[in-house]
Symmetry: D3
Subunit: 254 residues, 6 copies
């Protein structure tokens, strides 16, 4: 099965990053391809970035359907373009944020989402309502490190996430931690160890990007995709300044 | 006071429409100016259109703050760019959707939103949750007439809205009707009359665009704007393909 | 437009207070008149006071409708008589409490209400449910100063409100403050300054009485009033001890 | 044990009714006394009536505490004065409405309240929220017979209640019926039989007045009363027009 | 009236305990009989114990119906077998947990449940949702003393419950305390005194086992039992390893 | 990876069924083994059956952990023993019900669960609350065919499920269908076709057993299991009549 991984940021070809932990998480038989956007923000850290990424994500999803991919995953916990791409295509589209929250809901009574910046706390609270999971959300916490600086000093960042996770457990009643940035993919086991060393063994630390990949695999295996009653195909009509998207939608419609 | 009315659609200058019912609704001392977007959809009928309108709405809001407007209103019940523009500027930004729902909540136990197309039902349900008003929402109903065709046969459209309103009252328990498209501005009293003639007197029919204008006036009078704790200013950082927006955010920051 | 301001307390003519900050908040063209009750409590600080004020508020609302007022506002955050007056009359009736909570909901993710006495905390929690806004209420906090003593040492009272607001922000996650007593009308900007000086800029401090006035103006402008499906006219029938009210209801019915 | 039954309506001595079904429902050792109000409405059918009854109910509750009663019950499903009386006295005060809803919640997944007039539907919906039982309320239905006419043709009224109960079961998913008027006390078994004859056996039909009596007996047996943290004693202060109440509160305070 | 008290633990005859505080709480005319299970856990402290007790509780409830008991109460706050026994029999079945929570809801705005072990916190949170009372639950707290050790040093245990109750009041906003173990029956007044001595007078301390007894008495008095629409009789069919239960269900069916 | 499939019913060896659709749904590298219970019901159709199955499910889960299985799935939408088995073991335990509901939540706005018998409607409503998904549940519907008769006339049963699904879409607003019995595994595509032929294309029909398998695979791939803070290991203590279970728990503890 072929899964397209959309990184919802604009980045020049020479800056493209490899799949990293995601590649090793794919099971045999799953082939991954990663793409970036032509237009979009440098990182997704709030409502505005998310909006700027959305048109590009829909374009990439349409291209994926055209090119025969079996599923699309959005490599960002803010899920930019998730609802919109689901309207545009019929193949499954999975966002890291919704995937991570659902796995968090599966594994315990309440989860906390630990994210890089406090500017996205409101957004994640609202998303949990849209996904129908607000009753499972213990809290959203932030470590106040910009996304693009997370790997400047990974040990420091990791400890900051572990520290915020401890606070989520002690003060907010979290039973599960969901990492709030795909930039932390691969850190889960290390943070779980930290939690164990601080007296909290048996706390799952969920990595949303990997959850999204696993749910893509699961949906393709099951032959399921999102409901077209929830995500009806958009009526295609003229737009100004989004020619590439318009052309793709016109093509897919026929 | 000066209020900018942002119509979140791209339209050539020769197609610009006058303010219509909104002009007469402004009180003496309120001056209105209406703008369209350079890039965006032809109409807003679902999640995707909304996303395409958002960058343009934020640009217009930034320009309004630069040019000394006292407040901004978004002339669309889907509130494209509402959260994002509030992050970008300090002057009040009011969306027709949130304004109409709040007035609906003020006037009765439960309101129904009657919108042109069923493709936006999911969206309005989700918005009511984000606005914290899901407990007041009786239902979202659609008349299945595209936005741009509403005024092809206004009498027919108006009767369709009245008919859907009757169903909302009878089947969903609505006590108040909120019209789900700014394209219906001015139809309220006619629809209320229709409801009265069908045995439902005393049902307020709320016109969201006018509510947004009235709330702009009220907020400016009171010297209040949205909380910067909910809508923190975005960190300005490079984007690809949104130069105008980037320049505006850089300017406003200084 | 003529708006009647009902202060829901009994007070001898020589003790009547002027309109204060409310007068300057009215826009040109709005004329205000303030009345007190013949029978009622000295101040409204809990469920029982609220009940004692209700018959008098309904009487004043009926008189307002008879005398051609365009709208009525109840000058008290506990909204005594709001539901009952809406049943009795057709002109808009706005309570400071509901108005302040709705504006709080408009401006941010969560608001806290800061009130004089803890005896009304339960009441405000319940009202937020009745108004469908419990999901937006971060907390109710009290400064423990009786209403009638608020202006004995206004500086002290104001600092107490600011202090409780800081706690609401830090401990309860409030993004907006709603002042829980009309006796604080005019203190908003000062409290907002205090908050800014304590490290919390950009927090709106909402004054419910002014919100009620602005919503009265807005509703009259829009030609809207409360739903008669939510607030059906009461069947008029004999009562003992409420002759004045009975006569008014009889008159309005015909 | 001595329980005072407060009928929250004003009625001349010659019109006082006996205890009826309530007397036979009391267990041996419980002595009941029934009182009416000096001032108040002729019947309680909406928010306004409820407000008019409240001061009188508090007066009667204070008198009961003075005279050594063990508990007070309010003989009306609208629970006028329930919160206020609990603030004023320390002996248990039970309202028929809250009692009936709690027993409804005990006996099945969802209950419907069937009340005389539709003017109280909104009120009961709101009360269920205040009592924390909105998730158990399937619906409120009305038979549109005024309270004082319920016993003009009891057979007709009873059939109307049974018919509305059937609709509540079939259309609203009710599993339990709570009768929404104390004027129907004694009708429960007959209505349950009707339901059985219409194909719905095993549906409890709850009579709120009897529930209130049983909860009074239970609370006195257990030595429990309402929390003074929820219902703090009111600060006693001057009122105009409520001298009797003021005197009682002053006396109880010392 | 005859009420069967089912202690949902397996215990040899020589270990059976007398009724204790429950006996004195019964009113004249109520005769109690206490039984244990043949198969089951030694104490109920979590989901698993609860599951092991359930078949035995249903057996005892069936026997009670066969033998002419008027009602059954389950002497355990975890309510093992409550739903299942209600399906099997027509006489009222009351669980201490649901009874205690309902009385907690009756007496104040929010109650906290104080239980022996933290292993049951999750369970009680979930039960409050199933009973529709999650909005009234301030918190569940645990003293971390196993059920069977509660009476090793009753003074120590009692103080631990009082201490946890103080924390529930101060940190969680509890207005009422519900004791989370029937092993504490009789401790209520002592804990209430402790709370008073620590500055919290007027806090009801609810003993669930006694509440269950009182609700049994109330239901039998009122001739009410659980809804057969919520708890339909099970289709009787072969089981392996539960012969006694199967035989009883077969007998009751005919 | 080795996954144990626990069918929570007692069945003699000669009656054991093959894995059926589940076998083909497993990906290469996943080996499945199916077991039945020694003691338990013949089928799971309500609360009582579920209780009778629970001890046996926990036994099978303990054995699986002892024997080196990587995960356990419960082959029943009622999830008997899910919470209890998670307390007992550290390997992931996935129930078909929770798995199906989570996938339903992933794929659309609201799902309906279509189950064999109406006796389990209440149960599924409650489970959706325990899983935090009540806001996504449109309804539970039943076809009124006992579980063990589903395959007597599979075509009839399938049409009944399709018919109930159509009602869920039309009357309850379902966007996704979750089949409420593992006995329907394999019917999904056929029912989806039926829905398409009746005018409802693009409706996912979710098969919970396959979802459980896919989530087992995903969790094992990710190295995640349930939170031990939500599901703490039970204190092992004597039980009567559950020797096998006691021995297993004792063994696993060391």
């Amino acid at each position: 099965m072929k899964v397209l991984v959309i990184s919802p940021v604009a980045r020049r070809p020479e800056e493209h990053l490899p799949l990293g932990g995601l590649a090793t998480a794919a099971r045999p038989g799953t082939s991954l391809e990663k793409v970036y956007l032509d237009h979009g923000p440098a990182s997704v850290e709030g409502e505005l970035d998310r909006a700027l990424a959305t048109p590009g994500v829909v374009i990439r999803a349409c291209e994926a359907e055209q090119q025969g991919f079996d599923a699309v995953m959005i490599y960002c916990v803010a899920d930019p373009g998730l609802q919109e791409a689901r309207q545009a295509v019929h193949i499954p589209v999975v966002g890291a944020g919704q995937a991570g929250m659902l796995v968090g809901a599966l594994l315990g009574q309440r989860f906390s989402l630990v994210s890089p910046l406090s500017s996205s706390i409101l957004f994640y609270e609202n998303q949990s309502k849209v996904y129908g999971l607000e009753g499972k959300l213990a809290s959203v916490r932030a470590v106040d490190i910009p996304v693009l600086e997370l790997d400047h000093a990974p040990e420091v960042s990791m400890r900051a996430f572990a520290q915020a996770s401890v606070q989520a457990i002690e003060e907010d009643g979290a039973h599960v931690i969901v990492l709030g940035c795909t930039g932390t993919t691969g850190w889960g086991p290390r943070i779980a160890e930290e939690l164990e060393s601080k007296g909290y063994p048996g706390i799952p630390v969920v990595e949303p990007a990997i959850c999204a990949l696993k749910l893509c695999e699961a949906l393709v295996d099951m032959g399921l995709a999102h409901s077209k009653r929830t995500y009806p195909s958009p009526r295609v009509k003229p737009t100004t300044g989004y020619d590439r998207l318009y052309d793709l939608l016109m093509t897919l419609e026929h």
